[in-house]
Protein backbone atom coordinates (compact mmCIF):
# COMPACT_ATOMS: atom_id res chain seq x y z
CA UNK A 1 0.00 0.00 0.00
CA UNK A 2 1.47 3.31 -0.99
CA UNK A 3 1.16 6.51 1.02
CA UNK A 4 1.28 9.90 -0.57
CA UNK A 5 3.87 12.36 0.63
CA UNK A 6 1.66 15.34 1.45
CA UNK A 7 1.15 17.02 4.81
CA UNK A 8 0.00 14.58 7.44
CA UNK A 9 -2.39 16.07 9.94
CA UNK A 10 -3.61 12.88 11.53
CA UNK A 11 -1.04 10.23 10.91
CA UNK A 12 0.43 7.95 13.50
CA UNK A 13 -0.71 4.82 15.25
CA UNK A 14 -4.46 4.43 15.09
CA UNK A 15 -4.94 7.56 13.02
CA UNK A 16 -5.53 7.99 9.33
CA UNK A 17 -2.94 9.55 7.11
CA UNK A 18 -4.63 12.40 5.40
CA UNK A 19 -2.82 14.03 2.58
CA UNK A 20 -3.48 16.76 0.17
CA UNK A 21 -2.34 15.06 -2.94
CA UNK A 22 -1.81 11.82 -4.81
CA UNK A 23 -3.30 8.38 -4.32
CA UNK A 24 -6.61 6.80 -5.17
CA UNK A 25 -7.50 5.59 -1.69
CA UNK A 26 -10.24 7.75 -0.12
CA UNK A 27 -7.98 8.61 2.83
CA UNK A 28 -5.93 10.79 0.50
CA UNK A 29 -9.02 12.96 0.05
CA UNK A 30 -9.38 13.75 3.75
CA UNK A 31 -9.04 17.48 4.27
CA UNK A 32 -6.04 18.17 6.53
CA UNK A 33 -7.54 21.40 7.77
CA UNK A 34 -10.65 19.64 9.09
CA UNK A 35 -9.09 16.34 10.12
CA UNK A 36 -7.90 17.47 13.56
CA UNK A 37 -10.05 16.89 16.67
CA UNK A 38 -10.74 20.50 17.68
CA UNK A 39 -11.22 21.81 14.15
CA UNK A 40 -13.44 18.85 13.29
CA UNK A 41 -15.59 19.60 16.34
CA UNK A 42 -15.83 23.28 15.41
CA UNK A 43 -16.87 22.41 11.86
CA UNK A 44 -19.40 19.81 13.08
CA UNK A 45 -20.97 22.26 15.53
CA UNK A 46 -21.19 25.06 12.99
CA UNK A 47 -22.56 22.72 10.32
CA UNK A 48 -25.84 22.30 12.23
CA UNK A 49 -26.30 25.97 13.09
CA UNK A 50 -26.53 29.23 11.20
CA UNK A 51 -23.95 30.70 13.55
CA UNK A 52 -22.74 30.12 17.08
CA UNK A 53 -21.13 32.18 19.74
CA UNK A 54 -17.51 31.57 20.67
CA UNK A 55 -18.32 30.67 24.28
CA UNK A 56 -20.99 28.19 23.13
CA UNK A 57 -18.41 26.43 20.96
CA UNK A 58 -15.88 26.49 23.78
CA UNK A 59 -18.36 24.88 26.19
CA UNK A 60 -19.69 22.42 23.62
CA UNK A 61 -16.26 21.22 22.54
CA UNK A 62 -14.81 21.55 26.04
CA UNK A 63 -11.57 23.32 25.18
CA UNK A 64 -9.81 26.43 26.46
CA UNK A 65 -10.33 29.86 24.92
CA UNK A 66 -6.76 29.96 23.63
CA UNK A 67 -6.88 26.53 21.99
CA UNK A 68 -10.19 27.29 20.34
CA UNK A 69 -8.89 30.67 19.12
CA UNK A 70 -5.85 29.02 17.58
CA UNK A 71 -7.93 26.51 15.63
CA UNK A 72 -10.53 29.08 14.62
CA UNK A 73 -7.75 31.19 13.09
CA UNK A 74 -6.62 28.16 11.06
CA UNK A 75 -10.17 27.58 9.83
CA UNK A 76 -10.63 31.27 9.09
CA UNK A 77 -7.40 31.37 7.09
CA UNK A 78 -8.58 28.34 5.11
CA UNK A 79 -11.75 30.25 4.26
CA UNK A 80 -13.99 27.74 6.07
CA UNK A 81 -15.15 29.92 8.94
CA UNK A 82 -16.35 33.50 9.14
CA UNK A 83 -15.81 35.41 12.39
CA UNK A 84 -18.03 38.34 13.35
CA UNK A 85 -17.48 40.47 16.41
CA UNK A 86 -20.30 42.49 17.91
CA UNK A 87 -21.10 44.29 21.12
CA UNK A 88 -24.22 43.62 23.17
CA UNK A 89 -24.22 46.60 25.52
CA UNK A 90 -20.64 46.70 26.72
CA UNK A 91 -20.09 42.98 26.31
CA UNK A 92 -18.14 41.84 23.27
CA UNK A 93 -19.56 38.77 21.53
CA UNK A 94 -17.84 36.75 18.87
CA UNK A 95 -19.99 34.83 16.43
CA UNK A 96 -18.72 32.12 14.13
CA UNK A 97 -20.33 30.66 11.04
CA UNK A 98 -19.35 28.33 8.25
CA UNK A 99 -18.74 29.92 4.88
CA UNK A 100 -20.24 28.27 1.80
CA UNK A 101 -16.81 26.87 1.06
CA UNK A 102 -16.54 25.55 4.61
CA UNK A 103 -19.95 23.89 4.40
CA UNK A 104 -18.97 22.25 1.12
CA UNK A 105 -15.60 21.13 2.52
CA UNK A 106 -17.25 19.62 5.60
CA UNK A 107 -19.82 17.82 3.47
CA UNK A 108 -17.05 16.39 1.28
CA UNK A 109 -15.03 15.43 4.36
CA UNK A 110 -17.96 13.50 5.85
CA UNK A 111 -18.52 11.75 2.49
CA UNK A 112 -14.90 10.60 2.48
CA UNK A 113 -15.20 9.39 6.08
CA UNK A 114 -18.30 7.39 5.18
CA UNK A 115 -16.52 5.81 2.24
CA UNK A 116 -13.61 4.93 4.52
CA UNK A 117 -15.81 3.36 7.16
CA UNK A 118 -18.20 1.56 4.81
CA UNK A 119 -17.74 -2.10 5.48
CA UNK A 120 -15.13 -1.62 8.20
CA UNK A 121 -15.87 -2.60 11.81
CA UNK A 122 -16.50 0.41 14.10
Amino acid sequence: MSHANGTNAAGGAGGVESTTGAGSHPRHELDDVIHAPVRLSVMAALAVTDRAEFRFLRDTIEVSDSLLSKHVITLEEAGYVRVEKAFVGKRPRTWLALTDEGRRAFHDYVSVLRRLTDGSPS
Binding site: G12, A13, V16, A45, T49, L116
Partner: protein, 146 residues
Protein backbone atom coordinates in the same frame (compact mmCIF):
# COMPACT_ATOMS: atom_id res chain seq x y z
CA UNK B 1 -7.97 16.12 23.50
CA UNK B 2 -6.72 13.12 21.50
CA UNK B 3 -4.65 14.32 18.57
CA UNK B 4 -5.24 11.42 16.16
CA UNK B 5 -8.56 10.34 14.79
CA UNK B 6 -9.53 7.19 12.96
CA UNK B 7 -12.43 7.61 10.51
CA UNK B 8 -14.71 5.85 13.00
CA UNK B 9 -13.65 8.19 15.78
CA UNK B 10 -14.11 11.19 13.52
CA UNK B 11 -17.67 10.13 12.67
CA UNK B 12 -18.43 9.43 16.32
CA UNK B 13 -17.12 12.86 17.28
CA UNK B 14 -19.22 14.51 14.59
CA UNK B 15 -22.31 12.72 15.93
CA UNK B 16 -21.56 13.75 19.48
CA UNK B 17 -20.91 17.41 18.65
CA UNK B 18 -23.97 17.40 16.40
CA UNK B 19 -26.15 16.27 19.31
CA UNK B 20 -24.73 18.89 21.67
CA UNK B 21 -24.94 21.72 19.15
CA UNK B 22 -28.60 20.97 18.42
CA UNK B 23 -29.58 21.00 22.09
CA UNK B 24 -30.45 24.73 22.31
CA UNK B 25 -32.73 24.41 19.28
CA UNK B 26 -34.42 21.37 20.83
CA UNK B 27 -35.04 23.32 24.05
CA UNK B 28 -36.49 26.18 21.97
CA UNK B 29 -38.76 23.66 20.23
CA UNK B 30 -39.93 22.33 23.59
CA UNK B 31 -40.66 25.90 24.74
CA UNK B 32 -42.92 26.41 21.72
CA UNK B 33 -44.59 23.08 22.48
CA UNK B 34 -45.21 24.10 26.10
CA UNK B 35 -46.52 27.52 25.04
CA UNK B 36 -48.90 25.84 22.60
CA UNK B 37 -50.23 23.37 25.15
CA UNK B 38 -50.42 26.03 27.86
CA UNK B 39 -52.53 28.21 25.55
CA UNK B 40 -55.19 25.49 25.34
CA UNK B 41 -55.42 25.36 29.13
CA UNK B 42 -54.89 29.04 29.98
CA UNK B 43 -57.84 30.72 28.28
CA UNK B 44 -60.63 28.34 29.37
CA UNK B 45 -59.33 28.44 32.96
CA UNK B 46 -59.07 32.25 32.91
CA UNK B 47 -62.64 32.51 31.66
CA UNK B 48 -64.44 29.74 33.54
CA UNK B 49 -62.21 28.57 36.39
CA UNK B 50 -62.50 29.43 40.10
CA UNK B 51 -60.44 32.38 41.38
CA UNK B 52 -57.61 30.27 42.81
CA UNK B 53 -57.08 28.52 39.44
CA UNK B 54 -57.09 31.87 37.61
CA UNK B 55 -54.38 33.13 39.94
CA UNK B 56 -52.36 29.94 39.51
CA UNK B 57 -52.45 29.84 35.70
CA UNK B 58 -51.87 33.61 35.61
CA UNK B 59 -48.67 33.24 37.63
CA UNK B 60 -47.57 30.21 35.62
CA UNK B 61 -48.23 32.12 32.40
CA UNK B 62 -46.14 35.04 33.62
CA UNK B 63 -43.34 32.67 34.63
CA UNK B 64 -43.48 30.88 31.26
CA UNK B 65 -43.40 34.18 29.36
CA UNK B 66 -40.40 35.51 31.29
CA UNK B 67 -38.48 32.21 31.10
CA UNK B 68 -39.11 31.60 27.41
CA UNK B 69 -38.32 35.21 26.44
CA UNK B 70 -35.11 35.08 28.44
CA UNK B 71 -34.06 31.72 26.97
CA UNK B 72 -34.85 32.56 23.36
CA UNK B 73 -33.23 35.99 23.71
CA UNK B 74 -30.03 34.70 25.23
CA UNK B 75 -29.44 31.72 22.96
CA UNK B 76 -25.80 31.62 21.93
CA UNK B 77 -26.65 29.70 18.79
CA UNK B 78 -28.64 30.84 15.80
CA UNK B 79 -30.84 28.18 14.29
CA UNK B 80 -32.70 28.83 11.04
CA UNK B 81 -36.04 27.44 12.24
CA UNK B 82 -35.89 29.08 15.68
CA UNK B 83 -35.05 32.42 14.08
CA UNK B 84 -37.94 31.98 11.65
CA UNK B 85 -40.39 31.08 14.42
CA UNK B 86 -39.29 33.92 16.69
CA UNK B 87 -39.35 36.77 14.17
CA UNK B 88 -41.61 39.51 15.60
CA UNK B 89 -43.18 40.12 12.18
CA UNK B 90 -43.06 36.46 11.17
CA UNK B 91 -46.14 34.31 10.53
CA UNK B 92 -45.95 32.44 13.85
CA UNK B 93 -45.78 35.55 16.04
CA UNK B 94 -48.33 37.55 14.05
CA UNK B 95 -50.86 34.71 13.84
CA UNK B 96 -50.41 33.80 17.50
CA UNK B 97 -50.83 37.36 18.77
CA UNK B 98 -53.88 37.82 16.53
CA UNK B 99 -55.47 34.56 17.62
CA UNK B 100 -54.84 35.25 21.30
CA UNK B 101 -56.37 38.72 20.90
CA UNK B 102 -59.48 37.13 19.42
CA UNK B 103 -59.79 34.64 22.30
CA UNK B 104 -59.25 37.44 24.82
CA UNK B 105 -61.88 39.69 23.23
CA UNK B 106 -64.42 36.88 22.88
CA UNK B 107 -63.93 35.99 26.56
CA UNK B 108 -64.18 39.62 27.61
CA UNK B 109 -67.01 40.90 25.42
CA UNK B 110 -69.15 38.00 24.21
CA UNK B 111 -69.13 35.24 26.79
CA UNK B 112 -72.02 35.78 29.27
CA UNK B 113 -71.51 35.79 33.05
CA UNK B 114 -73.12 32.39 33.38
CA UNK B 115 -71.94 30.61 30.23
CA UNK B 116 -73.47 27.35 29.07
CA UNK B 117 -71.70 24.32 27.68
CA UNK B 118 -71.83 25.78 24.19
CA UNK B 119 -69.87 28.86 25.17
CA UNK B 120 -67.36 26.80 27.10
CA UNK B 121 -66.85 24.45 24.17
CA UNK B 122 -66.52 27.41 21.79
CA UNK B 123 -63.80 28.99 23.93
CA UNK B 124 -61.91 25.72 24.20
CA UNK B 125 -62.02 25.40 20.40
CA UNK B 126 -60.83 29.00 20.00
CA UNK B 127 -58.00 28.42 22.49
CA UNK B 128 -57.03 25.25 20.59
CA UNK B 129 -56.97 27.25 17.35
CA UNK B 130 -54.79 29.91 19.01
CA UNK B 131 -52.35 27.19 20.08
CA UNK B 132 -51.73 26.11 16.48
CA UNK B 133 -49.02 28.68 15.60
CA UNK B 134 -46.69 27.77 18.51
CA UNK B 135 -47.43 24.07 18.02
CA UNK B 136 -46.55 24.38 14.34
CA UNK B 137 -43.35 26.24 15.28
CA UNK B 138 -42.51 23.47 17.77
CA UNK B 139 -43.05 20.82 15.11
CA UNK B 140 -40.81 22.63 12.61
CA UNK B 141 -38.02 23.35 15.13
CA UNK B 142 -38.04 19.87 16.65
CA UNK B 143 -38.15 18.18 13.25
CA UNK B 144 -35.12 20.18 12.11
CA UNK B 145 -33.26 19.65 15.40
CA UNK B 146 -33.60 15.85 15.44
Amino acid sequence: MKEELTPQEALRRIGEVDRRARRPARVAGLIYLIVGLATIVYWPVMNFGPDWSKLTVGLLWLLLTVASTWYLGSMSVEDREVTWAGRPTGPVTVTYVGAVAVVFLVGLLLVPDDPGTGWKAALVVLAACASLPPLYAAWRVLRAAR
